[in-house]
């Protein structure tokens, strides 16, 4: 850890990574797509923050923006900043940004087959990552790649280091990508659907590996996923996103046991549960998520919401604190949602 030197002794320490009022818009023929529209969150050492949402909710775009992977144009960034230990990432010169990305902040992608280069050996790709950020010899970098492959649980690393991605199974590729992400001991790991492409028994292996690495290195993990089961097992705090905004934020227990946004309520009610014998009928959310180019007026969820009234229409609800210190929801009817959820649970 390098933390102590950076901490301001007068105030509370700056969070490890903070995103403040981030907006990422894309100009298209169909109008402006507001993929991320005013999103703020932060994550600290050793903590796992989950960003949950369905396809097109903007959950991946915010992570890609942190890593500078969203090209502009077509993207525009009408507002927002990203802070790493209190230092603005976006105000740094490009060269300095590049230095931090990949070393201090690293990313694990959903599909390891497309994220790894098929024509280079896995070991060389990891070694390249080391040499990009550290002034070491080829030999040292290769040695480091070997250690990393062993650390992420790849059997026979000395053989595997000289193989190509197609010779790896899906789970092994994901391990190799984690090794690459760890190459420079990052403080923050952005994991974008890290196990979605994998089978459940392999998912359990990969998540166990991430948990162990987090424990050993005190890494902050930002877990971007649509899988509420994974979130329930691994997240400390959760941001629920809908149509480019965070609609509810809280601890895992707050989100799962006392949801205060109608969308969170809807998601939890629509899930089939493996631990319960057949429920009479699933309670789906009606309709489909809106196109981000045509987000409905007022609360973006209101056309699909069973709680909606005229009060939802005039403006987009702000994220407001509800019970508990960190629990907030952007819902006009958060009290009614709370009552409805309690009734549902006691039934």
């Amino acid at each position: 850890m390098t933390g102590s030197a950076d901490i301001d002794l007068d105030g509370p320490p700056a969070p490890l990574l903070e995103v403040r009022d981030l907006r990422v818009h894309f100009k298209t023929d169909y109008g402006t797509v507001k993929a991320v529209d005013g999103v703020s969150w932060s994550v600290n050492e050793g903590e796992t923050l989950a960003i949950v949402g369905e396809s097109g909710s903007g959950k991946s775009v915010s992570a890609m923006t942190i890593l500078g992977l969203v090209p502009s144009p077509p993207a525009t960034f009408p507002s927002g900043d990203i802070f790493l230990r209190g230092r603005s990432l976006l105000k740094m010169p490009e060269r300095q940004q590049r230095k931090l990305r990949g070393s201090q902040i690293a990313m694990i992608f959903q599909d390891p087959l497309t994220a790894l280069n098929p024509v280079f050996k896995v070991g060389d790709q990891i070694a390249e990552m080391v040499r990009t950020h550290q002034d070491v010899s080829k030999h040292t970098a290769k040695k480091r790649a070997l250690d990393l492959l062993g650390e992420v649980g790849i059997p026979n690393p000395a053989v595997r280091i000289n193989q190509y991605p197609h010779e790896f199974s899906g789970g092994m590729r994901q391990r190799a990508m984690i090794a690459m992400a760890l190459a420079n001991d990052p403080h923050v790991l952005l994991a974008d659907e890290p196990t979605t492409a994998l089978d459940v028994t392999v998912q359990a292996q990969i998540m166990a590996l991430l948990e162990k690495l987090q424990e050993d290195r005190n890494t902050a993990i930002v877990l971007i996923t649509h899988d509420l089961g994974v979130v329930a097992s691994y997240a400390d705090r959760i941001n629920v996103m809908y149509a480019g905004r965070i609609v509810e934020s809280g601890t895992a227990d707050e989100i799962f046991y006392s949801p205060r946004h109608a969308y969170t309520y809807g998601l939890l009610s629509s899930l089939p549960r493996m631990d319960q014998s057949r429920q009479a009928r699933l309670q789906p959310i009606k309709g489909i998520p809106p196109s981000l180019a045509r987000v409905p007026q007022g609360c973006p969820f209101h056309p699909r919401c069973t709680f909606a009234t005229d009060a939802c229409l005039p403006q987009v609800p702000e994220l407001m604190p509800v019970d508990g210190a960190g629990h907030s929801a952007a819902c006009v009817h958060s009290d009614r949602v709370a009552i409805a959820y309690d009734e549902r649970v006691t039934q």
């Binding site: 028994t201 392999v202 799962f256 998601l267 089939p272 549960r273 009928r281 789906p284």
Partner: protein
């Protein structure tokens, strides 16, 4: 529950009835060929290696397992979308495996499939009306405006959608079209091959409900292929777990989830995270070693032994039994119709522990 099968899923009640679908010792091997000019067969990928299955009228049987376990190949071999290498499939008294081309086409009226990917399974250059009419035309049947609008209505789509193209639809709507196509000919039996895996959570529940409603209304029999065990627990009456081409455990739904006997089933269920943080903190996950072995060269004896957590705890002589002797499916537990193929099968609670 399904209206057509009031006792659906209860092994005892089923025993007296004739199954809608009978699968006997189904085998599908894919040859591995090598050579430039003269292709020689140098091996076999044993994708499906002797599967037996009964599905009763109005019942939903789920076939679960991880990628490469052979669940989709089994389903396709049942429909003869892939020609089975050996075995017998009997659908409502008709031996499907023995049918010639003409008769097979007629038999397909009774057996249909809904595919996983609603983006790849609809022809992008055909309107929904054309896609749905094609079915009737293939069998030389009359099709009119009302047929199509009724069909769309059944799956919850408005008639005005009939003249649109697939790209104008969302994933959930496309899957409704795929379902409409499958039920168009009033089939008796439908294979649902991961029908909700590609859909968002909030849409999944809509499609699951639609499938259940259709089963009630039309008395359909389903073979549900899935890897998502939460959906399976909701929709299935009976569950068969596959590993490397064979069924390793089969039981009625609640029996399988609450009282699993095979170490693979136990690992599979324990690996599924449940959306309940307090429960998750309590649960112990069985983490398996390594990956699924290559089906072209499966392990001797029990195919699961290379990853088995129980194998590691056995004495050397017991281990030898796993290595040498392939375990048969045999009755386990107290409830009828519960079978597992493990020499050392024993109950272990994994959903809540």
């Amino acid at each position: 529950m399904t209206a057509a099968a009031p006792q659906g899923g209860l092994g005892t009640a089923d025993a007296a009835r004739q199954p809608m679908l009978e699968v006997r010792n189904l085998v599908k091997h894919f040859p591995i060929r090598s050579g430039v000019f003269f292709k020689r067969t140098i091996g076999q990928v044993k994708a499906v290696d002797g599967v037996d299955l009964n599905v009763y009228r109005g019942q939903t049987v789920a076939l679960v397992g991880e990628s490469g376990c052979g669940k989709s190949t089994t389903a396709r071999a049942i429909l003869r979308l892939l020609e089975p290498t050996a075995g017998e499939v009997v659908l409502d008294g008709v031996n499907v495996t023995g049918l010639g081309k003409q008769d097979l086409r007629k038999a397909r009226r009774d057996m249909q499939i809904v595919f996983q990917d609603p983006y790849a399974s609809l022809n992008p250059r055909m309107t929904i009306r054309q896609i749905l009419s094609e079915k009737f035309q293939l069998l030389g049947q009359e099709v009119n405006r009302k047929t199509i609008s009724d069909l769309l209505d059944t799956v919850g789509l408005a008639e005005e959608y009939a003249d649109r193209y697939p790209h104008e639809f969302s994933g959930g709507q496309r899957q409704r079209v795929g379902i409409a196509r499958a039920i168009a000919m009033n089939p008796k039996f439908i294979v649902l091959d991961e029908p909700v895996s590609a859909l968002d959570v909030s849409i999944q529940a809509q499609i699951v409900n639609l499938l259940e409603d259709l089963q009630d209304e039309l008395g359909l029999t389903y073979l549900f292929i899935a890897h998502d065990l939460s959906v399976v627990r909701h929709i299935a009456d009976r569950v068969a777990v596959m590993y490397l081409g064979s069924v390793v455990e089969i039981a009625d739904r609640d029996d399988l989830f609450d009282r699993p006997y095979h170490p693979y089933t136990q690992a599979l269920i324990s690996a599924v995270p449940i959306p309940d943080p307090r429960l998750e903190r309590r649960r112990e996950r069985i983490v398996l070693r390594g990956d699924v072995p290559n089906p072209a060269n499966p392990p001797s004896g029990c195919r699961f032994r290379t990853r088995c957590w129980k194998f590691e705890q056995l004495s050397e002589s017991d281990q030898r039994r796993c290595i040498e002797e392939p375990p048969p499916l045999y009755d386990v537990g107290d409830n009828p119709g519960h079978q597992a193929s493990c020499h050392f099968a024993s109950l272990r609670e994994v959903v809540r522990a």
